[in-house]
């Protein structure tokens, strides 16, 4: 159970480990895009976790990194084709950031640090915890930016109509600034505990 919980807060991939920053910043213009990106990452982490922990005793350690990369790339291809076939609009909005999950350091990092050393059940728990922690981070950042930029969360109006939409937060600059502020809040909250 500890393997699952740690990804949510104390080792949250976005706010604490600072892994997978590229998709984090790029796709979080809206909470919905953050959620779909998060689900794709959970899928890739989950399949990679199962396969890597199953073959961890067969693969010689010299070629382990290329092997992991091929497993990850295959799993990402599956996720990408699935999104393109079933949710073409979301797939278009996420653009090349779905294939870029291949080089997302969270997945290779977990494969190297955790999946290759633990059995399948612990690996699945770790994959799910990390994936959900990542998704939570994406939804918080996406929601924060969507709220300030459009006054909505998941396209549901939160702020009244006279709210002056702050365009800045849907632009790249706003992405960096929001994440910086959120990390600051997270850190000072953690320190107080």
């Amino acid at each position: 159970m500890k393997d699952f919980i740690k990804g949510l807060f104390s080792q949250n991939p976005i706010f604490v480990l600072l892994l997978g920053m590229c998709p984090t910043l790029a796709v979080t213009t809206k909470a919905l895009y953050g959620l779909s990106m998060g689900l794709s990452v959970i899928f890739v982490l989950f399949t990679t976790g199962i396969i890597v922990s199953l073959i961890r005793k067969i693969v010689p350690s010299e070629v382990r990194i290329p092997t992991y990369i091929i497993i990850i790339a295959t799993s990402v291809t599956v996720a990408d084709i699935f999104l393109r076939a079933n949710y073409p609009e979301i797939s278009k909005a996420l653009g090349p950031y779905v294939p870029l999950i291949v080089v997302n350091c969270i997945i290779l990092g977990r494969a190297e640090a955790f999946f290759s050393r633990h059995n399948i059940i612990r690996s699945i728990l770790d994959a799910l915890g990390m994936g959900i922690g990542f998704t939570l981070g994406l939804i918080i950042l996406g929601g924060f930016r969507e709220l300030l930029a459009n006054g909505t969360i998941f396209d549901i109006r939160v702020f009244p109509n006279w709210y002056p939409n702050i365009l800045l937060f849907s632009l790249p600059g706003g992405a960096f600034i929001s994440l910086g502020i959120l990390i600051g809040i997270f850190n000072s909250f953690k320190r107080k505990k």
Binding site: L25, A73, I81, P99, L100, V103, F176, G180, I183, N187
Partner: protein, 189 residues
């Protein structure tokens, strides 16, 4: 003229780091000091150009004729990873000075999403061969430019009084945000 346009657009308007958010990990990690930023920047330009040339040939000469475009991601990442290895071995053997300058940054580049990102954008935007070369060169220079500016600013603020929680990544991201706003000026807002 068209090629210069592609080069300048990739460097300033669609800057890899500040517009597409690619290569953020090295951007946050290596921008601590100017000297390392320069080494990393040149290594990225070098590998990025080589990677886009070789993936261009593989995509249009092998994958498309064989009707296998879904193997794109698997083959691209393998090409990039092996290319980095090859460059490292080549430099080690033939150019000790260059190896000393770029050597330690090369292994880090495999997981730099800017490299894979450039090759994917090149396919997405349907560039021709020459256009791809200028696009990747421009993107590489853009990456180095952002890295250098950031390293310079971070050296300046080292002794400043920053709120406890914002120290490290927090303040770096906020600076990057302001930089990104400045770079938006190039696109004519």
């Amino acid at each position: 003229m068209k090629y210069i346009g592609i080069f300048l657009t990739a460097t300033f308007v669609n800057n890899m780091v500040l517009h597409y958010f690619l290569g953020i990990c090295p951007f946050l990690g290596i921008s601590g000091a100017l000297s390392t930023a320069i080494g990393m920047g040149f290594a990225v330009i070098f590998v990025m150009t080589l990677a886009s040339v070789s993936t261009y040939l593989i995509y249009y000469k092998i994958l498309i004729p064989l009707n296998l475009p879904y193997l794109q991601y698997v083959s691209f990442i393998l090409v990039i990873a092996s290319l980095v290895q090859l460059v490292e071995m080549f430099l080690k053997k033939y150019s000790r000075t260059l190896y000393k300058a770029l050597g330690i940054y090369l292994p880090l580049i495999t997981t730099n999403c800017a490299i894979l990102g450039v090759t994917l954008f090149m396919i997405l935007k349907k560039y021709t061969f020459l256009e791809s070369i200028f696009f990747s060169l421009g993107s590489g220079f853009g990456f180095m430019l952002a890295l250098l500016i950031m390293a310079g600013i971070r050296e300046e603020i080292r002794g400043n009084d920053i709120p406890e929680g914002l120290k490290g990544p927090g303040i770096t991201l906020i600076i990057a945000g302001i930089l990104a706003l400045g770079f938006m000026g190039f696109s004519g807002f």
